[in-house]
């Protein structure tokens, strides 16, 4: 029994010695990684700056500012640090909470004058006997664009030393450029949304003119039909111009295409034939708003223009596991693939085939771009065409993609 216990103790102590040795070796190695104090200082400054940059890149808001202020204070080496936007104090880390009002007034002044200032003891009076705050440096957060987004306030216990002033100014400049980058990000998003809006405006002019002419021709001969058409037209525009939401469901997009085709049928009569084959399983699939409609418009134009007799447009949506495959096909005159590529490359297509309407390239490439930007580069449009052999445009849409949702 005694031998047993001593064996256990022996094994245990051996294991702990081994663990201790491993730990010690690990510590020593870790230290050797950064050799000189200079390197260590550089590393620490860059690391802290990196930590502060992350919340700042989301823009100036109270939550982000609170996270950033902690790291910025370490960076400046001040006893307290506050961040403000153009009219209010967003966050304060460390000392100086009861000087909030004074700091805010000073920050406003700095933002208005766009010049940094140093506050002395006289400007920071308070009735607390034990208050250690003696000075503060207030610097504007100016980005590269020159616009002032807010101010950085460094609070100190002693009189503000020149080193602190210098550090605060540099940090404020750096933080300002991070905030400017955040603005850049959000303006890029705005640009993408503006593109969708532009597309909405783009479909219309041609089509509106044609639709109104077609409806006009029925007003005397068949007023009832004219009325129905106008209602369809109204519903169609309501969907196309709707203000909210970047995404829609396949079912809704098809409903809008139905209205569009009803109006086109009024214009072309029996010349326009439509064939549909939609798997019911994919009707709830979410896809970018108005990404099918331009393809159908394109097919109608191709299937019927410059071609006698009837034209057939077929729309097919198939269930394919985790994806939905959609094709829009016409049996029209088709086009030379080279022309299409050139047209897409030039986008505006001003020097393209003079007989060709440049608008269609814009429509196709816009849809292509939006699909790629939403689902990834593997999900662009595929166009199969040749002179005299019709056009077939197909796309793949995943049934689920994070961040994509109808009605948002």
């Amino acid at each position: 029994m005694g031998g047993n216990i001593s064996a256990v103790i022996g094994v245990f102590s051996l294991v702990s010695v081994l663990a201790g040795a491993l730990y010690a070796v690990g510590r020593l190695r870790g230290r050797r990684g950064i050799a000189t104090p200079g390197q260590r200082a550089t590393y620490e400054v860059l690391h802290t700056a990196g930590l502060a940059a992350e919340p700042l890149r989301a823009g100036l808001n109270p939550a982000g500012a609170a996270k950033a202020a902690r790291h910025l204070r370490t960076l400046v080496g001040a006893d307290g640090l506050a961040l403000t936007d153009t009219d209010d104090l967003l966050a304060l880390d460390g000392r100086g909470a009861h000087h909030r009002e004074q700091l805010r007034t000073a920050a406003r002044r700095v933002i208005a004058s766009e010049r940094s200032t140093v506050l002395g003891e006289a400007e920071l009076t308070c009735d607390r006997i034990d208050c250690p705050v003696r000075g503060a440096v207030v610097a504007p957060l100016g980005g590269a664009s020159g616009r002032i987004a807010g101010a950085l306030v460094a609070v100190t216990d002693g009189a503000p030393a020149p080193g602190l002033v210098q550090a605060a100014l540099e940090t404020a400049h750096w933080a300002g450029s991070q905030v400017a980058l955040a603005e850049l990000d959000s303006s890029r998003e705005r640009l993408a949304r503006a593109e969708v809006r532009a597309l909405r405006a783009q479909i219309s002019p041609h089509f509106i003119y044609n639709a109104l002419t077609a409806i006009g021709s029925f007003v005397r001969t068949d007023p009832e039909r004219a009325r129905e058409l106008i209602l369809e037209f109204a519903e169609f525009t309501r969907y196309s111009f709707r203000a909210h939401g970047e995404f829609t469901t396949l079912a809704e997009e098809l409903r809008s295409i139905d209205r569009y085709l009803t109006i086109e049928r009024a214009r072309f009569g029996d010349r326009l034939q439509v064939r549909l084959q939609i798997a019911p399983e994919v009707l709830p699939v979410t896809l970018p708003f108005l990404c099918l409609q331009p393809l159908v418009e394109n097919a109608v134009r191709h299937g019927l223009s410059r071609k006698p007799g009837t034209g057939m447009v077929s729309i097919e949506a198939r269930d394919a596991g985790a994806e939905c495959h959609i094709t829009v096909e016409d049996d029209g005159v088709g086009m030379d693939p080279a022309t299409l590529t050139a047209g897409i490359a030039e986008l505006a297509g001003s020097t393209g085939d003079p007989g060709d309407d440049p608008g269609q390239h814009v429509g196709l490439s816009n849809v292509d771009e939006r699909l790629r930007s939403v689902f990834g580069d593997g999900f662009g449009l595929v166009v199969e065409t040749g002179v005299g052999s019709g056009t077939k445009v197909s796309m793949r849409v995943p049934k689920f993609h994070p961040g994509v949702r109808a009605g948002s």
């Binding site: 079912a251 295409i257 549909l276 019911p280 394919a320 689920f400 994070p402």
Partner: protein, 546 residues
């Protein structure tokens, strides 16, 4: 053996299935009318499709076999298989549909925003899918072997090949139509013979299912033993039999008692030893938990809910599924009970899973009626293999092609289908000795201990974090997976360990919930920042959202 109608019936079912899959859409949905083309699937149709996909070989063959063998205890299988939809209806159906997720990994990414968790969920989806596919192929092998006399691997290989080719070549395009057709076919294939069987039983003077002096052979029977067992003959003598032994019994001779099977009338009719032995009770509770909570974690069932246009119709669909599946499960019970009278030799051979396909001929004689009904049942059984395997294979292949191969092209999906089909085929060829329903029960146990906590907590508790979810799935699901592997591959255990491993759900499900909650509380800071928005998306009624 040798029923001339069976092979044509099976071929016909296969051809009809493939044809509907390929051309159903073209015939039913080619139109120039948008109202027709964009009509959504009604809850009734979708419910029939879910039923078709769900009612597998385990339900069609296995449940009756288990009832024949073990009696009233295993009634929990059909009850649980059906009642799983109640849990799905109450906790998951509508919020999951509103979330917009197509597969379980999608839900993980949407709710917890973690790619790593998505990978983990993918692994579990593939494992559950394969575990569920094995008994389907096993059932196919068994059915063909019993009815057409082919060797066991033929049936498994045929079904595996047909299903893999069909899914890979796009034969499940009209999946809702195919699966709905399969449901009604399966129901007919069991219901029509059941009526004939009940009438025959009446005509035979309603023989007692459990006569006081033990069941007897109705006709002279020769039995070929397929599983090692110890028989206790009528005169008290015990005989050990091995696979391949032949035993002959004269008409009216009592059926020998078989070890490991509920033999006497009281054994078969009463819950086993609930009072005397806690293990039986534990096993039963385990089974109830696994089947109640496992249904919501089955990958091929959840993807069908995507077809519903909104949360409300998802809920209505689930309600209809509950009714359809509930009606179906009455029938295997009848087969199991009548099997006690007409096919007692199956107790000796150990091939109790074959009771459904053998019963019509045994009860009605080898005349045309009996053979036609046997062929109908065989066709229904094949519909069960085809529909469930196709559904599972589509889900597993979809997950493999998007999450493992990482390319969503048509060729990627085909490659994934072949990969997803080969593995369970190899497994099915190597494990033939297990009860079909028990293997399925294990798949349910894994689903209940991994995805059920994830779904329930993910939908109803704001505090769930990705670390908590991953820990819960790893610990609970991992424990269930280990139990499955030990059951399938490992050494035979006895006593409590054997019970805990054979029916793990009663300890793995609470374990998974506990770990998930505890780790989530410990890592509260990792909770996703946009949880409020996600919750609104899951729970706000559809009318409010547009």
């Amino acid at each position: 053996m040798g029923n001339d109608f069976v092979v044509p019936a099976i071929v016909a079912v296969t051809l009809v299935t493939v044809a509907i899959g390929f051309y159903g859409l073209r015939l039913a949905r080619t139109t120039s009318d948008f109202l027709v083309a964009s009509r959504v699937v009604s809850p009734t149709w979708n419910a029939a499709a879910i039923g078709g996909e769900y009612l597998s070989a385990a339900s069609f063959l296995g449940v009756a076999g288990l009832i024949l063998k073990y009696g009233v205890d295993v009634l929990w299988y059909p009850v649980g298989f059906a009642a799983g939809y109640l849990a799905l209806l109450l906790f998951v159906a509508a919020p999951l549909r509103r979330s917009g997720a197509f597969t379980l990994p999608d839900f993980c990414e949407l709710r917890l925003g973690s790619r790593r968790l998505r990978t983990l969920a993918t692994i579990f989806v593939i494992f559950i899918g394969w575990l569920y596919l094995v008994p389907q192929l096993q059932g196919a092998g068994l059915t063909l072997a019993t009815l057409a006399g082919s060797p066991y691997p033929v049936g498994a290989l045929v079904v595996a090949a047909v299903v893999t080719a069909n899914v890979a070549l796009g034969g499940m395009r009209a999946v809702t139509f195919v699966q709905a057709f399969q449901y009604w076919l399966k129901l007919t294939a069991l219901a029509v013979p059941a009526i004939f069987l009940a009438l025959q039983w009446q005509a035979d003077g309603r023989s007692a299912v459990t006569p006081p002096d033990g069941s007897t052979f109705r006709t002279a029977t020769t039995v070929v033993v397929e599983q090692r067992a110890v028989l206790t003959l009528a005169d008290g003598q015990t005989v050990e039999v091995r696979p391949g032994d032949e035993l002959s019994f004269a008409e009216g001779e009592p059926v020998p008692e078989v070890s490991g099977v509920a033999n006497g009338a009281t054994d078969w009719l009463l819950p086993s030893a609930a009072g005397s032995d806690d293990r039986g009770l534990f096993g039963t509770y385990s089974l109830i938990l696994a089947t109640f909570l496992g249904t919501m974690g089955l990958p091929h069932v959840l993807v069908r809910f995507y077809t519903n246009p909104d949360g409300a119709s998802a809920r209505r669909t689930t309600l209809v599924v509950l009714a359809l599946v509930g009606v179906f499960y009455l029938l295997p019970t009848i087969y199991g009970v009548l099997g006690r009278i007409y096919t007692p030799q199956l107790l000796v051979t150990g091939q109790t899973d074959a009771v459904v396909v053998l019963l019509p001929e045994a009860a009605l004689g080898a005349g045309t009626t009996g053979r036609l009904l046997a062929a109908l049942v065989a066709a229904g059984a094949f519909a069960a293999f085809l529909s469930t395997s196709s559904g599972l294979l589509t889900s597993v292949a979809g997950v493999i092609s998007t999450d493992v191969l990482g390319r969503g092209s048509v060729r990627g999906f085909r490659l994934a289908t072949v990969i997803a089909g080969v593995v369970p085929t190899v497994l099915a060829l190597n494990v033939s000795g297990m009860d079909v329903s028990q293997v399925v029960g294990l798949a349910f146990a894994v689903a209940a201990s991994s995805f059920c906590p994830l779904l329930v907590l993910g939908i109803w508790w704001r505090g769930l974090t990705d670390a908590g979810a991953a820990a819960g799935i790893l610990v609970g699901g991992g424990a269930a997976v280990t139990s499955v592997l030990i059951t399938v591959l490992g050494p035979g255990l006895t006593g409590w360990p054997a019970t805990l491993i054979a029916q793990p759900a009663a300890w793995t499900v609470p374990l998974a919930f506990t770990v998930m909650i505890a780790v989530s509380l410990a890592t509260r800071r990792r909770a996703p920042a946009d949880i409020g928005r996600t919750m609104l998306r899951l729970h706000a009624p559809d009318a409010l959202r547009s």
